[in-house]
Structure formats: structure tokens, C-alpha cells
């Protein structure tokens, strides 16, 4: 069980590693994110929930650098990263997985991690690579072609492994459990529970399953139509009528 002995979100050692201040993203006439203010501490596990299309993946894209916000600020360890290019954010410590796994083609699993480690940290540490392979359960598949020889569970594990290889300080997990069957889900849950202590990362995790959020996260943020409508402990948030309404729709009000 994760240790939540430290109270609140501000940790004297970590402070707020990631700070989003009034971040907005517009695509043409569509407002994908409006004025989102959120912070994640360096040792926190924060859940990000909301109905489909609420803007969760867009938020991840903005943080990792795939999308440029039209307003607001993104501070990572007190540094404004809005102008920092995608690849440099990875080196700064922002790691990210994709909902639909994107392995590096024409490379083996091990090579995937090697590239991630070499370019994400500037060095190669084989022992650490092996540790990550073990941790994510990919040790047996290290030599397999990443794009063609892995099952879905393994591809998802590779997503996490790749991100871990860059030695992130912040890990953005985008629906890693989606599409997995029960056995795979259970294995992943165990892995996710140990992730944040084993690798000292702050985690921001998008998931749909409330049970998962309850089990993993000490805090939850809720997005709806691009706006942040709640931010607190799981107990607080899931009892909030606004949150319930966003999931069930006004028809049930």
C-alpha cells in the first residue's frame, strides 16, 4: 500500500514540480482546454479523470510539448517550458506514455529502451535498463521486434518502460490499463502501485476506472469540456455533485 503519510500536496522536498497556470488550448474555434490550473508535486500520484473528449489527452499533449497552448503558463520545476521543444522536455524529466502504444519501429524492445535512455538522459546504464525490463515484465521479450512481436499488454508495458528509461521526474500515464483483460490489468496495477516509490517519480495518470483511481491516487483532478471542475482527494471529488453530473449528464439531475 502506498504511503500517504505526508499530508497535503506540498512536500518540503518536492514542492510543486509541475505547475499549470491558466492553460488554454484552442483548435480553431474549438476550445479544448480552458484556463486549467493544476499542480503536481514531485512525489504525488494525481489522477486525471473526466468524460471522453474532456481534454485529458490534450492536457498531456500540452505538458509534453506535442501541442502548443494558446494561453497560460506551464512551469516545470519553476522553469517555464512553453517554448521548450518536445525532445528537450523529455530530457528535462517529463516522461509520457501514449494511449495507443507507439513503439519505435525496426528496433527490438531493448533497443527501444536504449534509445530512450541514451537520448533522454545522455548516458547508457545497462544495469538500470535491465532493472526496468524486469520491473515492467519485459525481460523475456528484450530481443523481440517492438513493433511486430508484442502483445497488447507487452506494448503497454513497453510504453511505461520507455518513459522510465528517460529517468523522468514526472510521468504522464495515458490510460495504460485501457483494453487490457483482467489478468493483465491486475499485473499492471501492481506495477503502477510500486512505480512511484521504486523510481521516485511524480505521476499524473489518466484513467476511466474509479476503482483504479481510488487505489492509486492520493489526489484527483476532474476535467469537463476542457475546464477543471474539481481537485481534491478521491473521496471528496467523487462525492462532488458537479462531478457526478458531468459523468451522468444533466438528464439525471
Amino acid at each position: 500500500m502506498l504511503d500517504f503519510g505526508r499530508a497535503g500536496t506540498l512536500d518540503p522536498g518536492g514542492a510543486s514540480m509541475l505547475k499549470l497556470e491558466g492553460v488554454s488550448v484552442r483548435f480553431g474555434g474549438l476550445s479544448a482546454l480552458s484556463d486549467v490550473t493544476l499542480s503536481v508535486g514531485s512525489h504525488e500520484v494525481v489522477g486525471l479523470v473526466g468524460p471522453n473528449g474532456a481534454g485529458k489527452t490534450t492536457l498531456f499533449n500540452a505538458i509534453s510539448g506535442l501541442v502548443k497552448p494558446t494561453g497560460g503558463r506551464i512551469l516545470f520545476n519553476e522553469v517555464d517550458v512553453m517554448r521548450t521543444p518536445l525532445y528537450r522536455r523529455a530530457r528535462l524529466g517529463i516522461g509520457r506514455t501514449f494511449q495507443i502504444p507507439q513503439p519505435m519501429h525496426e528496433l527490438s524492445v531493448r533497443e527501444n529502451l536504449l534509445v530512450a535512455q541514451r537520448f533522454g538522459t545522455g548516458q547508457v546504464d545497462r544495469t538500470r535498463l535491465d532493472e526496468i525490463l524486469d520491473f515492467t515484465g519485459l525481460a523475456g521479450k528484450a530481443g523481440c521486434d517492438a513493433a511486430t512481436e508484442l502483445a497488447l499488454t507487452e506494448l503497454k508495458a513497453l510504453e511505461v518502460a520507455k518513459a522510465l528509461a528517460t529517468q523522468p521526474k514526472l510521468l504522464l500515464l495515458d490510460e495504460v490499463l485501457a483494453g487490457l483483460e483482467t489478468h493483465g490489468k491486475r499485473r499492471f496495477m501492481t506495477m503502477l502501485k510500486e512505480l512511484h516509490t521504486a523510481f521516485s517519480v511524480g505521476i499524473l495518470i489518466i484513467e476511466h476506472d474509479i476503482e483504479t483511481i481510488n487505489a492509486l491516487c492520493e489526489r484527483v483532478a476532474v476535467l469537463n469540456f476542457g475546464k477543471l471542475i474539481a481537485d481534491g482527494t478521491p473521496a471528496q471529488v467523487f462525492a462532488d455533485p458537479a462531478v457526478i453530473e458531468s459523468y451522468t449528464g444533466a438528464a439525471h439531475a
Partner: protein, 318 residues
């Protein structure tokens, strides 16, 4: 490296450095054929490198060839730069030319290929019009040859052969080292999954730029060497489409995914073209080359030499 491969490579080296000079070193005709073939190979290899590692197919390598040639010729004639240094500077000149092409990198596939072609035409037109510097369409003549060094005349036919052979082999080594390096691994992944590499910290734009630089530099050196070998340059020659076509045919014939493929392809294709096709069709012999290219793309896009290797590979995996 597999033992079968290193044995074959050693054999080729012995053949190239030992047997060939012994048998034909004093035959100017054979030597000139081989030098020309190796020059083609020297463009085919960087072309293939750009395609394989950089993921970019270029129809404009004649730009680098011509710029390298002119840079070296002008420096050696107007600035009294020694020929060997001028050749290297020819490579630098081609590298500078590629800097201008950087914005084109973000284009994909056909747009890149044709944009580079546009650049090649631009450089050719500049070379023709800026006659004060380049001698215009009349060209430059009496370009100095490579001098004697360590008691050996590198300007002679045999000397030129050995020099271009060494240059090309050095390129091959550089290519091999690059491919095995971490950059090479990242570049391999970048072909089909560039975003995945960027998300883990790979500066994909920088890596691709470096491949363009390396390819340009190598081609420029070969162009420069050629200028000092034939001692004459004019825009129509230096930027001719043949420096685009022959290397492409050579690389695809020999297998553009391998390192030695383009080189072996160049020797075979050039010799066959000069000895057989040209005697059949003196004025349209390139037609056969075009047909060969078409046939290869349809039936064996990975190159004809790789076809020959297949039974060999099957045994290894058995």
C-alpha cells in the same frame, strides 16, 4: 560481423588493392574505367546513406557534386590552396550548400526529393551565370591534378585509382560506424516512428540534418576529386543529371540498404553501361539504364545483389 562476411570483405580488399593494380595498373583504359566507376560509387554511397539513415530520397545530389567540384577547383586555382586541402574544402563547400537546404528537411517524401532537385538546378544556374567566379558556361580548364606525395604520383591513373578507392572505403567505414552507433539506432526508428523517438528525447531534426551534412560532405569530396582528375569543369557537366541517375541505379542495383551494395552496384552498372550498353546504343544508352531501373524497382526493389544473397541467408537461419 559474421565470419562469412568479413572473409568476403578481406578478399575484396586484397583484390582491390593488390590484384587489380598488379594486373591492370599500367593499363590506362581499365584504370580510367575503374576510377569513373568508383566516383559513381562515391556518390551512390552517400545517397544511400541519406536514404537509409536519414529517410530522405534525393534527386539532387548533383548539387553537392557540382558545388564540391567548383569549390575545390576555384580554391586551388585562384587562392593557391594545395590540391589535397582543396578537395577537403570542396566537401566543406558542399556542406555549406546543404545548409541552405535545411528548411526542406521538414518536407516528406516526394516534396523533399523534388525540392532538392530544384536546389540542384539553382546551383547550376548560379555556376553558369556567375562567370566572374566560375568561368561561366565556358567552364574552368587546367585544374591542377593531385600532386606527388610520399614519392608516389597520385595524379597518375593508378594513383587516382588508389586514392578514390581509399576515399570511398573511408566513407564506407564512416557509414558503418554511424549505423552501429546510438545515432544509427535512433535514425532507424525515426523512419516510421519519429514522434515516438522525439518523446523520449531524440532531437530528430538535428539527427536528420547531420545525415544531410554527412551525405553532402562526402559527395562534395568526390566531386572535388573528379575535378582534379579530369582537370576541366563546366556547369553542364558538374551538375549533370547523370550524377543523379547513375548513383541511384547503382545503389538500387547493388542494394541500397547495405553499405557495400552501392559500391559494388556502381562498379557493375558503370562497367556494363560503358562496355556493353554504350556500344549497342551510343547515343541513347541511358535508355537501357532507365529500363533497368524500372525493372529493378518492380521486381527487386531491395537490389539485385540481395537476391543473390538469399540462399546464403537461408542456410544461416536454418
Amino acid at each position: 560481423m559474421k565470419t562469412g562476411h568479413s572473409g568476403a570483405l578481406l578478399g575484396l580488399l586484397v583484390l582491390a588493392y593488390g590484384v587489380v593494380p598488379m594486373l591492370w595498373g599500367h593499363d590506362p583504359y581499365v584504370m580510367s574505367l575503374l576510377v569513373a566507376a568508383l566516383i559513381i560509387g562515391g556518390v551512390a554511397l552517400p545517397w544511400a546513406l541519406l536514404g537509409n539513415l536519414g529517410g530522405m530520397v534525393s534527386f539532387g545530389h548533383s548539387a553537392f557534386f557540382g558545388v564540391g567540384a567548383y569549390t575545390s577547383a576555384i580554391l586551388s586555382m585562384k587562392c593557391a590552396v594545395p590540391v589535397s586541402a582543396a578537395i577537403v574544402l570542396g566537401g566543406v563547400g558542399a556542406w555549406l550548400a546543404s545548409l541552405v537546404m535545411l528548411p526542406v528537411l521538414r518536407l516528406k517524401g516526394p516534396y523533399f526529393a523534388l525540392a532538392i532537385l530544384a536546389y540542384a538546378r539553382i546551383f547550376e544556374i548560379i555556376a553558369t551565370e556567375w562567370s566572374g567566379l566560375t568561368g561561366g558556361s565556358g567552364g574552368i580548364s587546367s585544374i591542377p591534378t593531385v600532386p606527388v606525395a610520399f614519392g608516389f604520383d597520385f595524379g597518375s591513373k593508378l594513383g587516382s585509382y588508389l586514392l578514390i578507392l581509399t576515399i570511398v572505403l573511408l566513407f564506407a567505414c564512416a557509414y558503418w560506424a554511424l549505423r552501429r552507433s546510438h545515432y544509427g539506432i535512433a535514425l532507424r526508428a525515426m523512419r516510421e516512428s519519429e514522434d515516438a523517438t522525439r518523446v523520449v528525447g531524440v532531437n530528430s531534426t538535428l539527427l536528420k540534418s547531420m545525415m544531410l551534412f554527412v551525405s553532402a560532405f562526402m559527395t562534395g569530396i568526390v566531386g572535388a576529386f573528379n575535378a582534379h582528375y579530369i582537370n576541366f569543369l563546366e556547369p553542364d557537366y558538374a551538375f549533370n543529371g547523370v550524377w543523379v541517375m547513375l548513383p541511384i541505379v547503382a545503389a538500387i542495383f547493388g542494394g541500397y540498404r547495405t553499405i557495400v551494395g552501392p559500391l559494388i552496384g556502381a562498379v557493375v552498372v558503370y562497367l556494363v553501361d560503358q562496355l556493353i550498353f554504350k556500344s549497342l546504343l551510343p547515343s541513347g544508352h541511358q535508355l537501357v539504364l532507365g529500363a533497368l531501373l524500372v525493372a529493378m524497382i518492380i521486381f527487386s526493389p531491395r537490389g539485385l545483389l540481395t537476391l543473390a544473397q538469399r540462399p546464403f541467408r537461408r542456410r544461416q537461419h536454418a
